[in-house]
């Protein structure tokens, strides 16, 4: 197969003659890896949209009755740029739409955009400093006004204004948006930006109408009536919202995708708890869909025997991990413990970190605690596939760990606990209160005891552990402990923001009020260099290689990934609900339908 054949094949995928999957299979047959094939397509402006949308069966819009969604955390506002939690983003997503959404493989699918910008269609500038988005013609807001480039420019102005206090400001403050014509905009970056698909894409990208919001920008933003009564472009029109309780919408008859949406009305009920939400879908069938079932897999399996629904699992970027402190939490310097000026007595030695890594029995944690809702991993970046390192391995090997600790000079004392220079290897291990975490703590403590490490366990209430209170020493950014464990999500299908949490200049300190993202305070010059290089690399393949290198460096010492956790939902037996781990649960709501 030479270049001409390849171009021909890509062309056939573009015209829809050959499915994306078919293309990837052919590439596999000639020895190319699937992610690389995906990259080739993405680079040529072909996303997976064809496959996802092709699965939609209904031949006309409407007629599907009511779609009943159950969210155990109730949405409290419906302005996507004020969304404090996922619940608010999801409620907004029923009514508002971005230019493009992320599909399950982390590829872009056009929504309000006519096409995904690429080098081929002239959307991406060769120098990586600008991107042109073309808007799909004929899209109207729910009140009948047309969607134009002015709305996008306004959305950017609205979100980037610090006085608005939009939570999406991070995606808009470093770029400039200008109108090219009525149906296209240009985003300008002040430096070459390989990750150009942040603004106007996915969870942060929902476009708001200029004609309704223009009177409410900056400090006045909180008075906008549209904060509680959205007017968007989405598949459903707004009917009713009661903060903390229910959101209701009806079918948008002028929706821009043909034959969609299928349901006549949609309702998102909030409140209660995850277990009873699972019950209402899996056991009684009162609801069609239950979001984010943070319930142990055993319980879910039992509820599933009711036969009314199934548990649906998709993977995004949620990672449960263990951090080994590189600084000393027991020494106070200038009113601060775990200060960068100190060194951890044990974990500043990579050998001890390796030993600790070998003492974490990830397979047992997956099998006995997370079940179907997580998979053991040695990587910090677990998706999209093109950014996942293939060379990392995890192992559970107490014998080797013992040998490493001996080598590092930590000798076993008469009580079986190791010591070096008169210091006993006694560690404080903290996490938030949450049943699976306490079980994981126990598994690690048990294994460590066999290697002569004494671990003291500490669990902190979630509201304290995850707060940003600078005066409270028990929060995770303070990290006044030797080890800690928690989960955070990579919310974009690109690891560049995610990997910022290991760069040296982000170390959490008293000086930055513990707002730095590098909680383990791990500092490594090679890592910093790889990260910086990736930020400026425009070739997607080379950039992926740099990001993978960064991942490998990060997980080689003080950062111990444990479990790649899934987004778990309950879905009624008759509901067809395609969704993506890289975007909101409702990002593909127009594609939802029911099967007899």
């Amino acid at each position: 197969m030479d270049e001409r054949d390849l171009r021909g094949l890509i062309g056939r995928v573009k015209s829809g003659e050959l499915s994306r999957r078919g293309f990837v299979q052919r590439m596999l047959a000639v020895g190319l890896s699937a992610p690389l094939a995906g990259l080739m397509l993405a680079d040529n402006g072909v996303a997976m949209a064809a496959d996802l949308r092709a699965a939609y069966k209904p031949a006309k819009a409407g007629g599907g009755g009511a779609l009943r969604l159950l969210w155990w955390q109730a949405p409290t506002l419906i302005n996507p740029h004020f969304a404090i939690g996922t619940k608010d983003q999801e409620a907004s997503r029923i009514f508002y739409e971005p230019l493009a959404a992320w599909d399950p493989d982390g590829n872009l699918v056009p929504v309000l955009a006519a096409e995904i910008p690429s080098k081929e269609n002239g959307g991406l500038a060769a120098d990586g400093r600008s991107v042109v988005w073309k808007i799909k013609p004929g899209v109207t807001w729910h009140d009948g006004k047309p969607l134009t480039a002015d709305d996008l420019v306004f959305t950017w102005e609205y979100a980037r204004d610090p006085a608005t206090a939009a939570v999406t400001i991070g995606s808009y403050k470093d770029c400039k948006v200008e109108k090219v014509d009525d149906l296209s905009i240009r985003i300008l970056f002040d430096k070459p930006t390989p990750y150009w698909s942040d603004a106007f894409v996915g969870t942060v990208g929902m476009v708001i109408p200029k004609h309704l919001f223009s009177a409410y920008t900056g400090a006045k933003s909180r008075d906008a009536p549209q904060n509680l009564a959205p007017v968007g472009t989405g598949p459903y029109r707004f009917l009713e919202f009661r903060p903390g309780d229910i959101v209701r919408g009806e079918r948008n008859p002028t929706y821009h995708l043909p034959n969609r949406p299928y349901f006549d009305s949609v309702e998102m009920k909030g409140g209660g708890d995850a277990v009873s939400a699972a019950r209402a879908v899996l056991q009684t069938g009162e609801y069609d869909y239950a979001w984010n079932l943070l319930v142990e897999d055993e319980v879910l399996k039992r509820l599933e025997t009711g036969g009314k629904g199934r548990v649906d699992v998709v993977y995004g970027g949620k990672l449960e991990f263990l951090l080994l402190n590189t600084t000393d939490p027991n020494v106070e310097v200038d009113g601060e413990r775990s200060s960068l000026k100190t060194k951890h007595p044990a974990f500043s030695d990579p050998k001890v970190c390796h030993a600790m890594n070998l003492l974490v029995d990830r397979k047992s944690i997956q099998d006995y605690i997370y079940g179907r809702t997580g998979r053991a991993t040695a990587n910090s970046v677990n998706g999209p596939e093109r950014f996942v390192s293939k060379t990392t391995r995890y192992a559970f090997d107490p014998a080797k760990a013992n040998a490493l600790l001996d080598e590092a000079g930590w000798a076993k004392g008469s009580d079986g606990i190791r010591a070096k220079d008169g210091k006993r290897l006694k560690l404080l291990f903290q996490t938030s209160i949450n049943a699976p975490r306490q079980k994981t703590q126990a598994i690690i403590k048990q294994a460590a005891a066999k290697a002569g490490i004494e671990i003291e366990l500490k669990s902190v209430t979630g509201s304290v552990f995850f707060s940003s209170d600078t005066a409270n020493p028990d929060t995770f950014p303070h990290f006044y402990a030797d080890m800690e464990m928690y989960a955070i999500s990579m919310t974009q299908a690109d690891p560049s923001t995610w990997l910022l949490q290991y760069v040296s200049w982000e170390a959490a300190t008293k000086e930055n009020k513990w707002q730095g993202r590098n909680i383990a305070r791990w500092r490594n010059a090679d890592y910093d260099a790889a990260y910086k290089a990736a930020q400026a690399e425009l070739d997607p393949v080379k950039r992926a290689a740099l990001l993978i290198k960064a991942n490998d460096l990060a997980v080689s010492e003080n950062i111990l990934p444990l479990v790649h956790r899934a987004e778990v939902s309950g879905v009624s037996a008759t509901l067809v609900a395609p969704r993506s781990g890289w975007d909101n649960d409702l990002s593909f709501l127009p594609e939802w339908s029911r099967e007899a």
Binding site: A166, K173, P243, G271, G272, S276, R279, E286, M490, W498
Partner: protein, 319 residues
Amino acid sequence: MGAYILRRLLIAIPSLLGISLILFVVLALAPGDPFGELAANPNVPPEVRAALRLKFGLDDPIFTRYLRWLWAMLHGDWGFSFASRVNVDTLILQRLPTTLFVVGSSQILALLVAVPVGLYAARRPYSLADQVANTLAFVGFSLPTFFTGLLFILLFSIKLGWLPFVYQANLPGTGLAWAWESVRQAIMPVAVLGFFQAASYTRYVRASALDVARLDYVTTARAKGLTEGTVTRRHIARNALIPVVTLVALQIPAVFGGAIVTEQIFRIPGIGSLLIDAMLANDTPVVMAVTFVFAGLVVLFNLVADLLYGWLDPRIALR
């Protein structure tokens, strides 16, 4: 009488001020941050959180914040919710009807059960009927509502499939079908709350009926040859219910305040669930408004109960 009411109202002012100060300080000292969830999101720069805190005045000293809150409250401004970015009074008014309906119906149910059962049990103390009523009452108020609520759900929703366990504040639709749906979804929460309340009312009614039944005027009534039914209805019940009336008056604030646990279990969008959601989200203005209004109602209905008592029982003089 007028002087008495005025004095009581004047005493209420310092106690309400004290209550509000304590509530505010406790909430301010409690850990947590309304924008804490943003901290865990790598895409939200820390400056956004700082800007939001500044915007809502969270970084000012506690006392300044308290005075600001108090001043606004005196002007009838109940505050602005951090989580929903709307006025707190809008939120509360939106939820009040649901709570009044559910908790109010449960109180009525409780009285409908408790008064006849209590009087009947008191007619022949230590008879079989009395023993049964007593035992049930004991069981009733020993079982917490979160337990009976779950039990009801497991039985009526999951095993039998008769009743829905997710409550909807305004069901779409009209007509008989709609009315039936509204009643159907309210059966379980009203029953859970009603029977719990009925259990304690029953014991009060029984005890006070027993006290009254021993009095001389009841013996006189019987000596006159009145039937047992007339004696119970006209002579015992009327006096025995005086303490129950005040008890009910003291329960009225709870009707407005909602039932936190039951509302959570059945997803009833009432004041109780608003309070618990606001606490979990560290939405201080909402928590302050709900608890403070609740405190105000408790103080007010204590006064009402005292007045009612004096009116119903002329032997008690209010000075």
